[in-house]
């Protein structure tokens, strides 16, 4: 199954604003207005998302985790994919050039198709050693 390129669409923004921003914050830093009331602060996407495969993230969005609600069956598979891409997008926003130099090839790959389809396994490869 092909995913759209790593852009950011209005539909993704709307989904994120309606369903994620309260806890995860406007930029996925874990600083939404409800975050302080949670027993555990939501993660900063920049610290966690790049190490997760698409199926792993999709499982969390669909099935929930901790106090995070399960968005299946409320959302369609296409909407869950949109959320997944938005999470990926926010995890890369504001990165330094050095980060992109390490990951650019892989980012392009999994912006086009899921990790497992390109690489043959679910988990993303480890960071390149310089």
């Amino acid at each position: 199954m092909l995913l759209a390129a790593c852009g950011r669409s209005e539909r993704m923004d709307t989904l994120y604003a309606q369903r994620c921003r309260n806890c995860h914050g406007p930029n996925g830093r874990g600083d939404g207005p409800i975050a302080v009331a949670l027993p555990t602060l939501p993660p900063d996407f920049r610290d966690t998302v790049e190490r997760k495969s698409n199926p792993q993230i999709r499982r969390v969005i669909a099935g929930g985790k901790g106090l995070m609600p399960a968005f299946e069956p409320a959302l369609s598979p296409a909407e869950i994919n949109d959320m997944l891409q938005m999470v990926r997008f926010l995890s890369r926003e504001g990165r330094q050039i050095s980060w992109w130099e390490k990951f650019d090839t892989l980012v392009v790959a999994h912006c086009s198709i899921p990790w497992e389809a390109v690489l043959g396994y679910e988990d993303p490869p480890v960071e390149k050693k310089l």
Binding site: C20, A70, A74
Partner: protein
């Protein structure tokens, strides 16, 4: 008797103080910090109702007559304060002694029957570690639920599939079936709820 009207609505983590007619106005609320929970003492009889529990079995409210009942309104896909409310109820259940559990019961009534089937509610209950002997998760048809929501003074407005604005209410009903304490807001104080529940128990 205190009126339940005029309570706030839960929308994107905020509580608005408005009447039911202005519910739609909450949809474009700005993001600010969480508001405090409002606690009210009331005394108003609650009408009997019949819904379906997480096992797909019929549930009759009057079957709990003689017990203190904590009733929360929430829905499983809620990206707002419902998780905080359900987590608070879980903590209440954990802190009740065995004797207190025998004389009390928790209810979570959905505000989104379109999504919250008994199976979905059963999964939700499992995720929160609810002890189902003393906690029922209820759904039903829209018309029946409308009358239950109205009975408790809960406003509900569907915004999209799996996205609902509703009054974030936790109500405590006494052993005679009268609403006695009402908490409106994102994260009710567990110690305060336990105190109120215990005040209505036989030895309270």
């Amino acid at each position: 008797m205190s009126s339940l009207r005029g309570w706030g609505y839960c929308q994107l983590g905020l509580v608005f103080f408005s009447n039911f007619a202005s519910l739609a106005g909450a949809a474009n609320a700005p993001h600010t910090a969480l508001k405090a929970v409002e606690r009210r003492e009331v005394k108003r009889p609650i009408d009997d109702f019949s819904l379906t529990d997480q096992n797909g079995k019929n549930f009759q409210f009057k079957s709990l007559h003689g017990k203190v009942v904590v009733v929360a309104f929430a829905y499983t896909a809620c990206p707002d304060v419902c998780p905080l409310i359900t987590a608070a109820l879980r903590r209440v259940q954990t802190h009740l002694s065995n004797d207190e559990r025998k004389n009390s019961h928790l209810l979570t009534v959905t505000t989104d029957p379109e999504i919250d089937s008994p199976m979905v509610l059963a999964g939700y209950a499992r995720r929160y570690g609810a002890e189902l002997g003393g906690w029922s998760f209820l759904t039903g048809d829209e018309a029946t639920l409308q009358s239950v929501w109205k009975n408790f003074g809960v406003g509900v407005k569907r915004k999209a599939r799996g996205l609902v604005d509703h009054t974030p209410l936790v109500a405590i009903v006494d052993r005679q079936g009268a609403l006695r304490f009402a908490y409106t807001g994102p994260s009710p104080d567990v110690k305060l709820m336990l105190r109120d529940i215990r005040s209505l128990l036989p030895d309270g």
